[in-house]
Symmetry: C2
């Protein structure tokens, strides 16, 4: 494939950033990938595993000739870090991110950046509870959705180029309004994390005759709570940045649990079964 960018900087070489670096290099989409991060140990792993050609540790050291900057840091650092990089970038450098929350980031990036640094918000729906460069892999995005969230201010040429870039690393690209993205992900991703963190805490705090409840958790419970292994500070930031959607769907969920609890307490078997059967059918459609 033809080279699309000469010099890509990945700021935050984690599972997503590292996998994007590997995939782009493998497919010859970039000439050079340069890593940035605070932890040198992680950058050395990325270097050793062939994700990056080199790295820098201070934001002002970003190479001037960078033509693609991908911000792969936790969502609350995206905008502040961009402020640090801004003054050192060549006009025309395309800026993007991979954050799980879009509306606030897109709004703030558009406020911050001049027209000469076109920004396109992106969220590849891939990854999981692992983090750091070590688990990154070139095929992470194959067949996975990558949502791009342009607005009416977005540079069309940059959008087109990023669309093509993500397609070439294997993703199914979808264009979506940033607010809509946040409302959808609030329900299907952010809310479940809150629910699981709360359940695991309930489990560890509930005392039943001094029994350690963890011992009685079967494989089902472990599958169910795997996402509680995700990094706490990342999910704190995601919940706070997407506060309105997460909080709204959490309130809806609490209401539906209250209804379930009334059915259980009153022994309303037929209605309870109807609820369970409806979920069962929906879940069947998901496999």
């Amino acid at each position: 494939m033809a080279v699309m960018f000469r010099r890509m900087v990945i700021a935050g070489v984690g599972l997503i950033g590292g996998s994007l670096a590997l995939a782009a290099r493998k497919r010859g989409l970039v000439e050079e990938v340069i890593g940035y991060g605070r932890g040198e140990k992680n950058l050395r792993v990325a270097l050793k595993k062939g994700m990056i050609n080199s790295y820098f540790l201070r934001s002002h050291e970003i190479p001037f000739e960078t033509d693609l900057l991908v911000l792969g840091t936790p969502v609350r650092s995206t905008v502040p870090l961009m402020e640090e990089f801004m003054g050192s970038l060549h006009p025309g450098c395309v800026v993007s991110d991979v954050g799980s929350v879009k509306a606030e980031i897109v709004r703030d990036m558009e406020k911050l950046l001049p027209d000469t640094l076109p920004f396109v918000g992106a969220h590849p729906i891939a990854g999981g509870e692992q983090w750091g460069a070590a688990p990154a892999r070139a095929d992470l995005f194959i067949g996975q959705r990558c949502i791009l969230t342009p607005t009416r201010h977005t540079d069309r040429a940059a959008l087109k180029k990023l669309k093509s870039f993500w397609r070439k690393v294997g993703a199914k690209v979808e264009i979506m309004d940033p607010q809509l993205h946040d409302r959808i992900l609030g329900v299907v991703s952010h809310l479940p994390h809150v629910l699981v963190y709360a359940l695991v805490n309930l489990l560890s705090r509930t005392k039943v005759d001094r029994v350690d409840l963890k011992e009685y958790c079967g494989g089902g419970f472990k599958d169910f709570t795997r996402i509680a292994s995700s990094r706490p500070e990342l999910w704190r930031d995601i919940c706070l940045l997407n506060r309105e959607a997460v909080s709204g769907s959490l309130a809806d969920y609490i209401k539906s649990l209250e209804r379930m609890n009334r059915l259980i307490r009153k022994g309303q078997g037929a209605l309870l079964e109807r609820e369970f059967a409806s979920a069962n059918e929906t879940r069947r459609q998901m496999t």
Copy 2:
């Protein structure tokens, strides 16, 4: 190994009953296994797969010389079915079950059965969302917990024999009070099912600009909601039979979600992170 029972009847040859039949035959613990159930098709599968030697379809046809009767039917059928079998059983036949709820079943079985038909409640913690004889396998119980729930009325010889029987099919046997069993399983197993059924329903009922939210569920969500594939009518019965424990832990859970939601709405990042980090640590101890 030595034969422990000459004729074992499994009433309800599902994943658990079928696997117990396979394991007991494989290890030579029983001379003959006879299946009972309402669905002849399922019994034919069990016969073909070597789980049972024969089957019967009407409860009064239970062989008189049965010396172990294991009730593997849904929890609400256990006691009514026992009433049907009772008159046809030979004195000395050991009766047991494999139900996920114990207190009410143990109490009713002890009321129902004469001293000549000793009952020992059992709950092997194995299986999952599959059902029917087809997925049964001889190694299902290896290394898994099987909780026996005797009371002060339980026949000690029958208890000893069942303990040994479950050990020989590979289970780690544990003795527990039936009420304590129900309180523990209410939190670690029954509650999560309710939560997941409710979440999947929220997902299918939430309308975000006419988008089908199912399309946006990643692998994490699918792991998380796998238990919603479990049979609705089974879980309805489990929730109703263990009403007090399920309802109590659901109420506690709702309270903790309300607290989480306050933290999110007020943007209390430090407290929110503390909650998430605590769950993260507990989950880490479970892998």
